[in-house]
């Protein structure tokens, strides 16, 4: 194992962890408010198409990211209205988003470009080196010469950690996911917090999807989210519902993903599908080990009805 292999691995790992971080933070906010959201995959799909189209039309990947966020919020409002206001089953609506949103994305793509057209490509977001930090030997070029979205993802992790641990608003937010009725008796607006969480969740999930088409690959193909929404779900459990834990979990899964690509390239004779399984296998193994040792927010998955007896 030589030096370039390792540095390439870290570089790719960080890049691949980034969309997972967006998605996992989306899930974290959602679950902390008591909404288990299994529809991230769908939100990311539609986000990735929105990002692709907007950055193609405007030529600005940054606007593409913004469009991803906006569309993510919009689609997630369907989920929010159904689960928060109508008290519908969260898993069912999450699944509905997973079926609906990718299909919508595929449909729009076909309508826009026509069936059977050639692959359209967009320019990716430029990397921005952070002066000073990028000169740190070894790690500098790996961690501090990335696209702004990578920095944003890490900034969001730090922000989230501070928000949930140090602020009054964050404490109230957590209480809604743990014991909504108690929160309500203290004058916390449970419904409001859950909608706010859904806006944050939609935006972050949309950005996670848009990252794939504005910073990662130059083109959109159906199914490009490739299970990341579910891996992010696992990352939240693995990360024990804390921002720091989620970051570590995402990096772990990101490196697994990077590793499988390197191994595919590097070895002959073994079907590449075996290596492709690595990130998913890692998810299963990790969840198996970590299991149900500590449950997440107590009221997660349960609707809140105001006048329930």
């Amino acid at each position: 194992m030589d030096w370039t292999f390792v540095s390439n691995l870290i570089l790719a790992g960080v890049r691949m962890a980034t969309p997972l971080i967006f998605l996992a933070l989306a899930e974290l906010y959602s679950q902390r408010s008591g909404l288990v959201h299994i529809g991230l995959e769908g939100l990311a799909s539609i986000g990735s198409l929105a990002g692709f189209l907007v950055s193609l039309v405007t030529g600005s990947p940054l606007l593409g990211m913004a469009a991803g966020a906006a569309v993510g919020i919009l689609v997630n409002m369907i989920y929010a209205y159904a689960t928060i206001t109508l008290c519908a089953e969260q898993i069912v609506y999450g699944m509905a988003i997973n079926i609906f949103a990718p299909a919508l994305a595929a449909f729009i793509y076909r309508v826009y470009f026509g069936a059977g057209s050639e692959l359209v490509q967009v320019a990716l977001m430029e990397t921005v080196a952070i002066p000073g930090l990028k000169d740190i030997p070894f790690l500098g070029p790996l961690l501090f010469d990335q696209t702004p979205m990578v920095y944003l993802a890490y900034a969001l992790v730090i922000f989230t950690a501070i928000y949930f641990n140090k602020t009054k608003s964050g404490l109230n937010f957590k209480a809604v996911g743990e014991h909504p009725k108690a929160a309500a008796t203290l004058g916390i607006n449970v419904i409001g917090v859950r909608y706010a969480a859904s806006v944050i969740c939609g935006a972050l999930a949309g950005m996670g999807g848009a990252y794939l088409t504005t910073c990662y690959t130059t083109t959109y193909v159906d199914g490009n989210v490739a299970g990341r929404g579910f891996i992010a779900l696992a990352a939240v459990i693995f990360g024990r519902w804390s921002a720091g834990g989620v970051l570590l979990a995402c990096l772990f899964f990101g490196f697994c993903d990077a590793l499988q690509i390197r191994l595919q390239v590097g070895s002959f004779g073994v079907p590449y599908q075996f290596f492709q399984m690595i990130p998913y296998l890692a998810t299963v193994v990790v969840l198996g080990i970590i299991g149900m040792r500590k449950a997440g927010p107590k009221a997660s998955g349960k609707p809140y009805r105001r006048e329930e007896r």
Partner: protein, 502 residues
Amino acid sequence: MEEILRMEHITKRFGDMYANRDINLDVRKGEVHTLLGENGAGKSTLMNVLIGLYQPTEGKIYLNGQEVRIDSPAKAVQLGIGMVHQHFMLVEAMTVFENIILGDRQTKGVFIQKEQRRREILALAEKYGLDVQLDKLITEISVGEQQRVEILKALYRGAELLILDEPTAALTDLEVEGLFAIIGKLTGEGKSVVFISHKMREVLRISDRITILRTGETVCTVDRENASAGELASLMMGRELAPSHYEKKEDTQRQVVVLEHVDYNKAAKHSGLSDVSLTIGAGEILGIAGVDGNGQSQLAQLITGVITPDAGRVDLKDSKVAKFMPQAFIEEGVSHIPEDRNKMGLVGDMSVKENILLKSTAQPRFSRFGGMFLKKKAMKDYALEMQEKYDIRCASIEQEARSLSGGNQQKIILARELEARPDILIAVHPTRGLDIGATRFIHDTMIEARESGCAVLLISADFDEILEMSDRIIVMFEGQVMGEYSGKNPPIEEISLAMAGK
């Protein structure tokens, strides 16, 4: 004395059911005002209206002479109304400190100013003698301390009127004394307390005035000086309650349950059985007296087939039990009123009807092909019949069981377990947390079961209940049988000593 709260003509309807109907209540500054009523009389509903959790269908609320509309709990907090719910509203995954400052709007700033807040809370705690450990998680502290946290939480938000919903239900006697001392300090500082309870002794001790509710309506308000326990009870029940004396039986013919030298998890003194031998005869009630947690739970689980003994012999109806499985015991005619009705007795999310029929769906009466196809009509008719027979008060038999009051939940279990015409009935704390009326009903039903030849094992931490009901009394201590006494003229002194292990 100055009036702080007046509620006028409050009506609250859930669907077709009136939980409150035309209720009037006024509370004065610095008084302890008790709301007295049976389970389901509408006490908690009225208070939930007051704190903005429910919206009244009709009626007006005045606070310090001003009419107010309390449309959310936030509004109630702002108006200085605090409530300690019967089931505490504490976030278990958070610390005491976090629970107290939760939802705080009085202080400015985004971040939690830990040191400053702590000082304020500790000062407040000191003033009212509320001893709490701020850095412990809620799961790590006792029930009594959780209650103090709840009181502190309300005071921290500037509550002038504090509602305590059945505050003594989960407390030990010592903790109750502590609570009363705190209430004394609160009223001494000019705060008002609404005390909700159905325990007569406590009510007479702590209240200044008492308002009695019955089936969702106000009966009257009386001063403590002019009240007596008997009078209050009859006002609460709406009828005179004759003192009960069940006839005791001394001769039992056939031994239905025989335990010989049974051991289970012997090393654990508080959750094991050690060399237990006893018999229960047909048509008698055997009472197990003892302080909670001396092996009673294990005894009940053993005779219902939930656990398997490590050693010894258990005979049911003259044949030795080979397999300890609940299903086998049910087939032998064992019915079980479990100690925790919410955890073991009922499926809270299922309807009253479904809970009543839980054990009998396989009968040809209710289904074809041994449970394959349910006969919905027959099930519904049967459930309605049971609702009538056991006086289960609910809006509909399709209502979720969890939404009923404790007494009515217990009646569902009773309907299910006794209609199976059991030969053996294991009743564990059957009246815990229930009011006088429901308790009496359940006792009567158990006596009826005895009269029809059922062997009844009654396990209760309530010594009075044991004395009243049992034909024979066995005392358990640290998993062992300490002694056996006749239920007729039992030697109370001796039994008390045995319960303490002497």
